[in-house]
């Protein structure tokens, strides 16, 4: 079961066409991107700003389409409902309808997900993410940390098989980072596969089983948990990989 592949990227390339006056510019975000996510693991995607992390996340969530190659979630293309039923997605800086309360928002998303047993589950999820005392507040009154917690709540509410988290701890205070980290670890222990992106090495080091190092739209190294433990930390591997990768690319 542990080796069962839940998501796979095969030769994925993504080119953004940026429209300009009377012309267009091509921006290569990903090139020949190949990797698999196995069921039950926590996989991290590490890279500098602009490395292509968000592009990978959006491709997996079916929000954008690859220019070439194939992505499968449980054997289904992510643009189809069958694949989307299997995922929970937290975008970087999640946005919600400011005039709604968290219960109203979660009810709306549960209904959109076709999740029938949402009534009892909503309170449990709210409790789990630590928003129990803020249920009567409107989203416009929420802090960034509370929004991130609500983002996690909506992502796990319908019990997805694969949780996709884009920069889940970005901009949070240390206590919130600690809480979110524990929450992700707890969700994984319940059997959910987690795929998260970050540029925080220490965060990925603490929770991931495997980390993919991304640079300029390509994988430069895949590191297992044991490897960074014996090598004296992920940071060293990351810096060497990035520098080495960039030099190879320049050449």
């Amino acid at each position: 079961m542990k080796n069962e592949i839940i998501a796979e990227f095969s030769n994925i390339s993504k080119i953004y066409k940026i429209k300009q006056f009377c012309s267009s510019r091509r921006n290569i975000a990903l090139k020949n991107f190949n990797f698999d996510i196995k069921r039950g693991e926590i996989v991290g995607l590490l890279g500098l700003n602009g490395a292509g992390k968000t592009t990978v996340m959006k491709l997996l969530a079916g929000l954008i389409f690859p220019s070439s190659g194939e992505i499968l979630i449980g054997g289904i293309n992510p643009i189809f409902s069958g694949a989307k039923q299997k995922i929970g997605f937290l975008p970087e800086l999640p946005y919600f309808y400011p005039y709604m309360t968290c219960i109203e928002i979660l009810t709306y998303y549960a209904k959109l997900s076709g999740f029938k047993e949402y009534k009892g589950k909503i309170n449990k999820v709210i409790d789990k993410v630590g928003l129990t005392w803020h249920t009567s507040k409107k989203i416009s009154e929420y802090s960034k940390g509370m929004m991130q917690r609500l983002g996690l709540a909506q992502a796990v509410l319908h019990e997805p098989e694969l949780l996709i988290l884009d920069e889940p701890v970005s901009g949070l205070d240390p206590l919130a980072v600690h809480d979110v980290r524990n929450l992700i670890a707890g969700i994984n222990k319940e059997g959910t596969t987690v795929f998260l992106s970050s540029h925080s090495i220490s965060e990925l080091e603490k929770i991931c089983h495997r980390v993919i190092i991304l640079s300029l739209g390509g994988i430069v190294k895949t590191v297992e948990c044991d490897a960074w433990k014996t090598a004296g930390g992920l940071e060293k591997i990351f810096i060497n990989s990035i520098k080495g990768g960039e030099e190879v690319r320049k050449r």
Partner: protein, 264 residues
């Protein structure tokens, strides 16, 4: 067959979830509250104008009120149709909708139906208020009043679906609103365009023919004009309904085609 039925049921459930959410969103908007208050004041003002018209009070009160009602509903519907979907793109709230098993055309259908429902809510609300005022002044129920409101709603549904389509292709909300206002205005001059087609030749005729087919004919929905001119018996009851379906279906299909290819 059972599979198809279950899929359709699931599809319609999503449409209804989006519909309920959107209608609530439109009605909670502050501009909606301001507009409703303003329209009630305007209809009340028509009462005062009607009193000054002495022997034409009933006619002035009815016509003036209906005109204002249509104008208010048009302003809000155009505004909401122009921003309702694009605002979700801009605020990125669409991410959490489309990363779920929500077909893009089901989302679009839910949004469009809620805009039509919004037009009905505004007309019913303002219409009820006008009828209360008429009753207060001792006048009877105006002839064909409910038909006038129904046709007014059809007109608003057409312009709303066109505006939603324009919001997908235009670069800004202002552009969408301006083009919609132009189409709304030109759509009331369809008989004049038809007259020009008959009177012109060559390129001019082709131009007028093209505009006659590309701009919706709103004149067929102005029941009040037919009634006032005594041509009420000549109205084809099905034409406005078929025309509505044709325009809504066409704009929905084009919008869905563009939306399907859109990335976020």
């Amino acid at each position: 067959m059972i599979m198809f039925y279950q899929k359709m049921l699931a599809y319609m459930k999503i449409v209804m979830v989006v519909f309920n959410h959107s209608l609530r969103e439109y009605c909670k908007n502050k501009i909606f509250a301001i507009l409703i208050i303003f329209s009630l004041f305007s209809i009340y003002a028509s009462l005062l104008v009607g009193v000054m018209a002495v022997d034409q009070e009933f006619r002035v009160l009815t016509d003036f009120g209906l005109g204002l009602m249509e104008l208010m509903a048009f302003v809000y519907i155009i505004y909401m149709s122009a921003i309702s979907i694009t605002e979700e793109f801009k605020s990125k709230t669409i991410y959490l909708v489309l990363s779920r098993p929500v077909p893009k055309n089901a989302y679009l259908l839910g949004r469009m139906l809620s805009l039509f429902a919004l037009a009905a809510v505004i007309l019913l609300f303002a219409g009820s208020f006008q009828l209360i005022l008429l009753k207060f002044r001792g006048f009877a129920y105006p002839p064909l009043y409910h038909n006038i409101l129904l046709l007014m709603w059809m007109k608003l549904a057409i312009i709303s679906s066109i505006t939603v389509f324009l919001s997908f292709v235009s670069t800004s909300v202002i552009t969408t609103v301006i083009i919609s206002i132009m189409l709304w205005t030109l759509g009331h001059f369809a008989p004049e365009t038809k007259f020009l087609i008959e009177k012109t030749q060559g390129i001019s005729q082709i131009f007028f023919k093209l505009s006659y087919f590309l701009i919706p004919n709103f004149q067929i929905y102005n029941l009040k004009d037919y009634y006032d001119s005594g041509l009420i018996a000549h109205i084809d009851n099905f034409k406005p309904v078929i025309y509505l379906f044709a325009w809504v279906l066409a704009t929905f299909s084009f919008s869905a085609f563009i939306f399907r290819k859109k990335e976020f």
